[in-house]
Subunit: 276 residues, 4 copies
């Protein structure tokens, strides 16, 4: 019996897609069990994100810290690789969704995503617990491990800031809301160890502190990347709309900042020219 | 002088990109003038979206209504065209951003976007003011105009709901926060006129009420579409992450719901077969 | 009975998704009926695009013209709004698909898409046939109509070229392959009429000629936009890969070409500062 | 001096963006040095992709094999995770580019991309050369290595095919065009070793053979992923257009294949209900 034949067995497909997020009984929209219209006006946008991802409402303090962590990015003007694609894209195709999506696509390994930091912290935490190390010992282990693999430590350093004001403020709020736990301390110990061994005075950046605080709130690295998108969205939307309202059509990269490095003019050999 | 030559004049490109959103003086991140770390912990995510788009902070009431309007969509389970692309996409490429972006791309003319309703309300408002009509007269004019053009009235009707619970709740909150103004009344008058003339008992849907409330808050249709994206994001993120954690790889559309309608097997004519 | 209940009736969903493109009987992949492995090596990539969209193989001449029309864009270096988003995006998220997708998203109303020209030509053709006008009369009608609506004529003009070399060559090949029909002539008549009435010496651009030639090949405006994507893809892929291999991480828009136009530093009023 | 101040030094930004792909001297479009209008009509779309990525024209045989390798995917009907997002997306937002982009985003680690196979072959080739192993010894080493890391061997197996007809045909054409070299042999040796040691009769799939043939043509894994996008594009475009022309608006996932697994209806605790 072929694969295709087996695939047409109806029983195989019952419950092919499962979800625990939203139920839609007659006339109702239940988000993790709660009627949507009851959530509207009573909890914050940050809280509904938490509810959807974790299945339960946050406490008051967790809700406030969740809101704070969404302020980890917001916008970084033109010194960002997220606003340029949004603006170039809508200059060619004047559709807000095209612009928003393009900005979001720039988020990832090098910018805007706490995921890499979150993966490092997750690994550090597992080592710490399984080998019963102190936070300081764990930090040393991580620094050594990354150095051996010649990998950049995520969550540290910024081209512009000696102290990242977003990270500093987020730490302050984590403390206020009772979430200055082992993940934040691990991030700080890794930072201390890095500065001590490398002798470079660089800060914990906002991605690093966001990852630590999100870990305190119980999010895993995949969820951190998704929340990074939310955090960057105000700026991405802002630039998209500003370009649509006040920008230019078909923007280019100006010749004053470009250079052509390829071959000079040349032509196809005669035998490649088709006469028919 | 060629176009290209003119383009290399440096003076031409000063201020090629302008923004009023974010300034980055040494060590600072100023969002519409406010230090980002000052906004973090003091205003809500809904309020920073408002600030970025409109340039000024909302009042307390506007801030609360802004938050409410972001609950206009949230999620609609599998009875949605936003969660399926998110899930299919990450089943092939297990990357959260791919999934989120695909879900967002489904938002638009037919679903998830208050833009079409917003454009209708904007047109209605302009007619009302320029021709000094009453709200009821304006609604009649709009219904007639759409009927003549054989265009669907946006913002009305839903395949599942006789009353859309999201729209009803949002209207209640608009009233609570003092924003039950001409746009909401226009939407309701257009709805009344539609029901009266067509004899169909359909509700104002959430897109329609979101558009009316966003118009009360001073947003234009392009901004409404961008805010529709934010409103749908919790669900899109939720389905993306749920699929990544508990789903399957390389999902297909099951044969029990598909049908092939094309030609039977056939073969290339001999003269099309290449031997070299 | 509720909407949701009705939705769970299995009979409703038989053949919910229909396709005439590909059939997958046991062990086979039939594209419009032809075994895929038979197409591979015997027809060109341009021909399989034609086959999939139109359901039948092109003639030899149509196949060659189809290939030519895919060369209508290819790349436009940095004087393009498609290569910048691709490069910015991969500078943040070093993933080829992110870059390609961002470049593609810039294609649309203002650049890279023959759709707008195709819609104009479709309208012109319908007017010509239904009102039994000559090509020249139709062109006048179109020019008048667009002027009255204050709409830009698509397919004409280019910031750099007085003759667009791509359009000129594509016309030459359309003639060689016997497809210099009414659509190309309409495009040329519209161009002539525009130049005569406006007194501006601007060329038919590549989007305009692509639309005319694609119309000769039987494509509609939606298909033209999709084929515009294919045509731009070599450049978008090239820039994406070049940036990944030789570019920089987290590219920004350099301050030498930007300007901040927003408010000076300011602070939240005291009553907005939260102490808890 | 601050980072921002340093950034405003104009000298810093000369040649910030470099490209060797396209030069645009007055009135000309030179692709890797060749006038675009000279390429149009004389080389194939597959050849211009090769030219842009590698900087030089392919030989006749390389050009033909390049064309063949773009037939490695083409379409896989509804038994694919690329066509569903394209169709769902345009059912909500009826814009061809939204659909195309969503389909492309599904390509990646698990489907449609030869990248993972290409990375394995690259690693295998380096081991073989640096340790002077035979092809068979290298294959054993790779199988052992992947087993130790508990990683799936890419490029092998298919849910439907015991022989993948696309892979078989592509190998035949690689032989015809003189490119049956070490990469194809490595892929086959890895396959043989896998079948021998695991005792599972699974085929080399099309991704695996595409990677091997692309490696013979000199492409690296990042380029392979980009070319995978091109190869899948005919199907993605076909489904997008077919849905736009003959599909439905706002498609859902039918309840006959879904299941809700979350909590029953519940309500916010009283203290969470806001009265103001």
């Amino acid at each position: 019996m072929s694969g295709e034949e087996k695939l047409s067995d109806a029983g195989l497909w019952k419950g092919y897609f499962k979800t625990g997020i939203t139920d839609l009984p007659p006339g109702k929209i239940l988000i993790r069990g709660y009627p949507l219209e009851e959530l509207m006006g009573n909890i914050s946008f940050a809280e509904v994100l938490y509810l959807i991802l974790k299945g339960e409402l946050p406490s008051k303090e967790e809700g406030k810290l969740m809101e704070a962590v969404l302020f980890g990015i917001v916008d970084h003007g033109f010194l960002s690789s997220a606003s340029p694609p949004a603006r170039y894209v809508v200059s060619g195709n004047p559709d807000p969704i095209h612009g928003i999506v393009s900005g979001v696509l720039s988020i990832g390994h090098f910018t805007g995503s706490p995921r890499a930091s979150g993966e490092m912290l997750k690994e550090a935490y597992q080592i710490m617990k399984s080998e019963k190390l102190s936070i300081g010992e764990t930090a040393k282990r991580i620094i050594t491990k990354f150095r051996e693999k010649k990998k950049r430590i995520p969550g540290l350093g910024h081209p512009l800031y000696t102290i990242d004001p977003r990270a500093a403020r987020l730490r302050e709020l984590a403390e206020r809301y009772g979430k200055l736990g082992e993940y934040v301390k691990l991030m700080e110990a890794i930072h201390d160890e890095f500065v001590k061994t490398r002798g470079k005075e660089i800060p914990i950046n906002t991605d690093g502190m966001m990852a630590a605080v999100m870990a305190e709130l119980g999010f895993d690295p995949l969820e951190m990347e998704a929340l990074g998108v939310v955090s960057y969205l105000p700026g991405i939307i802002g630039h998209t709309i500003e370009e649509l309202k006040t920008g230019q059509i078909v923007r280019i990269i100006p010749p004053v900042i470009t250079q052509y490095t390829g071959p000079a003019e040349r032509h196809l050999p005669k035998e490649r020219i088709k006469e028919d």
